[in-house]
């Protein structure tokens, strides 16, 4: 086995030095009835590297990936451009195989990239500080709610129904375990407008652009939060922040988001990257790792360390700001490389392209029989109202090589004829035209066939 270097000679010498006869001896404290017999485990047999790769390749080819279809599916995970430099950097063994930089002197390189990541995320969100990463947006949002609870000392949080349903589910799970209450603010026409439920809540959570793609009124949300003595927590797609006035500029207290669109493969939803930023006054309540700049103890060279460590579980234990330990460092590095590669201009360019493509798609798909469900400004995702069951339409379009979007019926029973459509910079006019043409055809077929029943 190439992963284990021991030769018979090695084993013999080592056992002799230890002073035992066999490796079995080393396990003598395990009650014998708990020991497995050699080969007892019923798992598949070993595959050599070449067969193993062939086997995995075969498994992978059973899936339909974005290479096989044209992707208009978003809903928080986006098919965006990933520069080749991202992979070149994060595959370097030094980054890939190191761990949390507990020994800063031996990890200055990685620490510096984390510090740069924090800077870029804070800048993007218009916030003062950002941490080194969270698992994903859903858990980042739950952590933000819990952080708000700790700051405001109320045991209830309000969340808009226009926040990603999965994130809300995760929030619900976390809240249940802690005995907290989650109140849901129903969005009106795809937008969060009525904040009366925020009363007595530690925070109000809105997403902008929200799950429907609509840009929320963050000034309204800010005002409502202030009025009710609550914190404003905003979930925000980082890419949209390249153009939009960022949540920080509206006075958000905590901003979280999903970093996947910034250089990370969709990867069936993992690994992702939870972004977490807040006002400086709350930095001591922040969950997770945070890297700071300092100088040598006995010198004046600058260097980086993990800091505010007394917030963390390994030191503060049950009083820690969170239980998070391992975070998503490598994904944060990917996003750092991504933001560096695109820079100001590149990021604004792809964001603008997404807006243009989405606007074009809105026109094209509307002239194919769809209707824009909500009227407010969208970034690059929108809800298309169809004269048929959205799931059926999605399935039909898939046969034509188009991953048309997300049918919303499962999440919002009233929207079963609605499709959430995302259009990123990766799509071309031609692809959008083909989508529109295919949609027209599908709708025509559905109306002329027994399918028509679905409309009733």
């Amino acid at each position: 086995m190439p992963y284990i270097p021991h030769t018979d000679a090695d084993r013999a010498e080592m056992l002799a030095l230890i002073g035992v006869d066999s490796i079995d001896d080393l396990f003598r404290e395990i009650p014998p009835n708990l020991l497995l017999k050699p080969g007892e485990l019923n798992i598949p047999s070993a595959l050599d590297e070449s067969r193993l790769f062939a086997h995995l390749r075969e498994l992978s080819l059973k899936n339909i990936s974005v290479n096989d279809v044209t992707c208009f599916l978003g809903a928080g995970i986006y098919d965006r451009f990933i520069p080749a430099t991202v992979g070149a950097v994060i595959s370097r063994g030094e980054y890939l195989t190191s761990y949390t930089p507990y020994q800063p002197e031996a990890s200055q390189g990685y620490l510096q990239t984390i510090y740069e990541f924090q800077t870029m995320i804070a800048e993007l969100y218009g916030m003062e500080v950002a941490n080194a990463s969270m698992y994903d947006a859903s858990t980042a949002m739950a952590e933000a709610a819990i952080m708000a609870i700790g700051i405001v000392k109320r045991d209830r949080v309000a969340v808009s129904s226009a926040v990603h349903p999965h994130y809300r589910e995760v929030l619900q799970t976390y809240a249940w375990a802690l005995g907290l209450e989650v109140v849901t603010i129903d969005a009106h026409d795809g937008k969060t407008l009525d904040f009366s439920l925020v009363q007595d809540c530690a925070c109000v959570i809105v997403q902008s652009p929200n799950f429907f793609g609509t840009i929320e009124s963050l000034s309204l949300a800010r005002q409502a939060a202030t009025d009710h003595g609550a914190l404003l927590v905003v979930v925000s797609d980082p890419i949209s922040n390249a153009l939009l006035k960022p949540p920080g500029a509206y006075g958000a207290d905590i901003v979280v988001g999903e970093g996947q669109p910034m250089g990370i493969a969709m990867g069936f939803g993992g690994p992702l990257l939870g972004l977490f930023a807040c006002k400086k006054e709350y930095v001591r309540q922040i969950p997770g790792r945070i890297v700071g700049k300092t100088t040598e103890l006995h010198g004046d060279r600058e260097g980086y360390v993990m800091t505010l460590r007394t917030r963390e579980q390994d030191i503060r234990r049950e009083k820690a700001t969170s239980n998070i330990c391992t975070n998503q460092a490598l994904m944060a590095l990917a996003a750092t490389v991504y933001m560096t590669a695109l820079g100001k201009n590149g990021l604004q360019q792809i964001a603008t392209s997404s807006v243009r493509n989405a606007q074009y798609a809105i026109q094209a798909l509307q002239s194919s029989g769809g209707k824009l469900r909500f009227r407010d400004n969208v970034f690059c995702e929108f809800v298309l109202d169809l004269p048929a069951d959205a799931g059926t339409v999605r399935d039909e379009l898939l046969k034509m090589g188009i991953l048309a979007g997300l049918p919303l019926g499962d999440y919002y029973p009233g929207l079963s004829q609605c499709l959430l459509v995302a259009v990123t910079e990766m799509r071309t006019r031609d692809e959008i035209d083909r989508y529109a043409a295919a949609l027209k055809k599908v709708l025509a077929n559905l109306n002329s066939k027994p399918y028509a029943e679905a409309r009733n």
Binding site: E94, Y102, E105, E123, T173, W176, N327, A329
Partner: protein, 488 residues
Amino acid sequence: MPQPESIFAKSRPGRVGTNVPTCDTPQVDLVSTLGDLRENLRLPEVSELDLLRHFTNLSHITYGIETGFYPLGSCTMKYNPKINEKTAALPGFAGLHPMQPASTAPGAFELLRSVQEMLCEITGFSEVTLQPLAGAHGEMTCLMLIKAFHASHGEADQRTVVLVPDSAHGTNPASAARCGYSVKSIPTDEGGNTDLTALAGALDGEAGKSVAGLMLTNPSTLGLFEPNIERICEMVHAAGGQVFCDGANMNAMVGTTRPGDHGFDCMHLNLHKTFSTPHGGGGPGCGAIGLKAHLEPFLPTPVIRRSQNGSVWLDSDRPNSIGRVSAFYGQFLMEVRAYTYLRAYGKEKIADISRHAVLNANYVMARLKDVLPAAHNRPCMHECVLTAERYKREFGVKALDISKRLIDYGFHPPTNYFPLIVPEAIMIEPTETEAKETLDAFCDAIILICEEATFQPELLHDAPSTQIVGRLDETKAVKELNVTDLHL
């Protein structure tokens, strides 16, 4: 090597670091389309080459497993096979959207289910979920299952305490707190085992009725197998509690013994430790959990199942589920790596992992016994916990000083000051993928350093002296907090 510049210092307005996609749809007026726009965006602007130089040179001052020995205790810094990186990069995995119709990703679900099944077999549990995103997240999920279990018996309000040994990793009490539990610490006895008397006390009578469960790390963070494990589980069960296994130390047990057989009700795994998904500088982790049948109703949704006919399906109809704990199916591309790893060992060789991990740890412990005695005089499992107490007492040299000096000798230091119950703890986990010569070179260095500690302690106090920076001022980092580039 000069101090590296900040990427922002390298930035010049107008530079681009990649060729972004061009756009062929009509222009739009951004203000009327979007509303309020941001004023500026201070991101670095550098060329592709300067980008690569920046991150290449920073990588050169980042110590990884592929640079050298990384015996960080409790972290299982084993070799991460390169073939795993190749399989995880396959477009048919990397290019999947988590919300595409399940019917279009049969290969992905087959893989996930197979990982679950192999982990069930290896841990001795009846079901596994891969939704937790790291170890701590797995702990928390397990506690939620336990909470739901008690709730299903109407005991949710009664059982509010979780017992946690004093040697436990910090995530254990923190995860308990995350589930609204209060934590009661259970001491470790002289021999390094759970203090059964104290445990009995905590489980006794009324106190016992308030106990939701026990979080036990086995092998413990002392690197010792808990010989009374069966008895302990019985005691907790008798009091109506559940027993969770912190499986961070599974590397000692793979193919040798199964926590499910020990009496545990559930456990978490760190696939980034035991099953070699790369640590990535601090993640992504990968936190599977295993559990017994009585906890299955509460599994987070969705649950990936295999039906009798062998086909894999998604079970979302779970009325008793605790709900989602993360957005999608877990760290999917990490599961691809773990799957690749497991299939490379296979049933024939899987036990070699724990056997050599334990052999290596005992070898290091034996080689160092004269300079750094083990906290307990027993065979260790996959790691050994030594104490530098003598050096602190006699020469003012702390465990941390020894560690920093190891950097000068080209090694990554072991874990220090954990577990908290061992004074001046030095926790060494070599893993099975290290060769004898590497262990020897490391032990030789420690022996030399211990000699230095005696005769030239300043060498240790001033260490490291070979790196881009000397020892850093952590107090100043807190006092003069600087966590984003203020010169922006």
